[in-house]
Amino acid sequence: MSNRTAKSLRVQSLNKSYGIKGGPRIPAVIDFSLDVAPGEFVTLLGPSGCGKTTALRVLAGLEDIDSGEVLLDGRSIARLPPHRRRIGMVFQNYALFPHMSVFENVAYSLRLRRAAEVDVKRDVGDALDVVGLADFSNRLPGQLSGGQQQRVAVARALVMKPDLLLFDEPLSNLDAKLRVQVRSELRRLQRALGTTSLFVTHDQEEAMSLSDRIAVMRAGRVEQIGAPSEIYARPATLFVAGFIGKVNALPGTVVSTNGGRATAECFGHRFDISGAAVTRGDALLLVRPETVLLQPPERTGIAGIVSEIEYLGDRTEYRVRVGETTVAAVRPSLGQEASFTEGARVSLAFAGDSIHLLPAGSV
């Protein structure tokens, strides 16, 4: 069922607002632009209510847009009704038809196209094979587990060989273990089929593990688009940094810049930072807790006092007070590691290349 002719998606300056009775229109998606290459897997990541679902629904044609353009393989689809877009969607609640068997659910799009019975049998069989549910074709959706329902929903969307696949938090109704398992299956499947896909989630780990690229959304806008590692290492804003993992945002000053390098001062120490694009003056130094080194107080570094320790099994989180600021640090819980007690004096150190600089005003 491989899709050799994957399509590209281009979304340009999309705006969508909702009218509330007797009130002003509330913008849900603002100036949303996105390019997805053929066969690429892009995730929209953001907190609840930031407009992810709205963005997907607009692409599927389930909501009218206020302005903007949607191009699929260069052709505008913004004015087409959903049933003429060839965009498959996996709904958050799966939206399986409860009165149809698994087979008929998957066959639905083929039946609408009046496909020949042999083709229906073959295509539905293939799709159910792909998701590993060949033995369940006669069941009703109500007789399946959550994970199985989810896979039927995927098979139903796949069987129509869509130009674009949309997933609206399809894993959020599964329990934690299953979520991880289905996640990797989904990724494998998408790679194998090569269908251009747009996936929505509020779970940063899910986004990181699945995506070629992530678009982080906030209050209706795209805040940053990039590969997972890039977004993690070089967040464009404090919001992105905080949404993808934990981060220390330490106040500092850039004292000199030189090409891609900068020297910043923080807690009276100087750090040589690479890949920074900031001007001199006040700045925020972003330091991930796992890159903070905790050392005995006699070592050189920033002096602080351990104010809180949280033991989390595989790792231990420390909060260290440095003057007015609290710095978080994470250590793997290894038996032999020197552990610090609350109230202990410690010395902190960061490697310069693990620091990311943001303008002081970034939020």
Binding site: L62, G88, Y94, F97
Partner: protein
Amino acid sequence: MTHVEANAAAAGEEGIGRNLVLPVLYPLLALLILVFVAYPMFVLFGRAVVEGSGPPFTLVWKVAADPYNRKVFWNTLLLGAIVAVLGTLLATAYAYAMTRVSIPGKKVWHFFAMLPTISPPILMALGLILLYGRRGIVTYGLFGIQTTGLYGLYGLVIAQLMSYFPFAYLLMLNLFRGLDASMEEAAGTLGANAWQALRTVSLPLLLPGLAGSVLLLFGYSFADLGNPMLLGGDFPVLSAQIYQTIIGMYDVPQGAALAIFLLAPSVLMFVAHKRLSSRMSYATVGAKGSSRLRLVMYLPARIAALVLVGIVTLAICLQYATILAGAFTQLFGINYTPTLRHVIATFTKSRGAILDTFALGVISAIVSVGLGLVIAHLVARTRHFGRGLVDFVANTPLAIPGTVIGLAFALAFSGSPLLLTGTAAIIIVAFVVRALPYGIRSGVAALDQIHRSLDEASMTMGATSGQTLWRVLLPLVRPALLAGMVFAFTRSVTTLSAVIFVVSPHWSLVTPTILSQMDRGDVGEAAALSVVVVLMVLAVIHGVPRLFDRDWREVHQE
């Protein structure tokens, strides 16, 4: 019943004051229900089955073999089938227009569609006669035709459609609103256009509801007495036939036997409905979708929808406007001089009927909801022996046409051991028994508002159980109980069939009074009394929540 029982497992033995009240209350309650629900039906069966010297069932077979009775029976079924099918189609189209199509004025369309549900069904016959009868203002006044075409099957179909389609509309409205929007949306993304999505996804999902609507309307048509008595003409149906047999021919056994033939199909319909809805309701798969469906904007669809609701609303408005006019006219159809005569007569001659109806309606509303709450609590939150049976018996009146219940009451309580004929009690009991299933429903709804943790929380903060009941539980359950009372009141004061055999000179009611005024030809007084009863019900429906619920809402808004 199944709903209540399902809660029982989850809720376990918990609730308010069970140690104190229930052991005493429960046997009493079971006894009440046995005496006032089960016993009258046994008496009715007894009168039909064992009569005179012959072997049992002699009379039933004789009644069944009578060709005229057979014709009446088939007439009843035919009328029920036509009303059920047409009414369901109409209700579905109306509900679809109201929920899914972009049309203006929805509040108005809804209000007028609901009006018949709070009026005595006999009003439809009255309005139709004034409009299209022998001296009808449309047929005779406008076109000069003096026709009896209204009397018979056609008139009955129209009158019952207008009386009862709103109940089906309400049912379908809730079903359309409850449809998961993502179903049709998913169909859309899979290539279905709006019509295909409706046909292949939504309508199949609504199928149990459509069948439910058919059976509901069947039941209403069977039970209707007022319209067949006024409009039946040469198309006799069972309910009117029973009335004629008892009141006209004083043949109680024959009437009881006929009642069995009215009861049997009703019970069948009821059972079919229960089984159908339990078998065909698809459990929602996965979580419920949150989005709402977009309204249909397609212009021809909007126009068609508007025409449909407009015509139906116009027909209903015309009925009520005519009745209103009739109330202020000397003799509608003959002498159109304006007069206040009928209104004055209503407040003098019929004052007793109005006051009795109101008082007995209020009392029985309170009693039925109170009993309903106790039964709901008993069934949902305790494990007393036989609670399922109590629930079942208390709910059986849903399946029994009013005429049958009324007759059973008249027979059961006309002599020892329980002589109630001529008292207010028999009317109250008839009202309560008929409203009890709805009382139980509102009780269940009320209990759903209460979690065990609520009264525990209140008590840990130092409240006594009395204070807890008053300050925490009562405000929570009040809206559901008030709604239940308003519904019970409406149902009681608008029914004719259930009370026609139990009213007496001491305790007269509005609906039988209207019927006898119509019989006498006092169209004006009938119209005036009809206006008063509709206004009374409207006042209760809109007044009660405002009177009793305000403080509660204000507290919650703070």
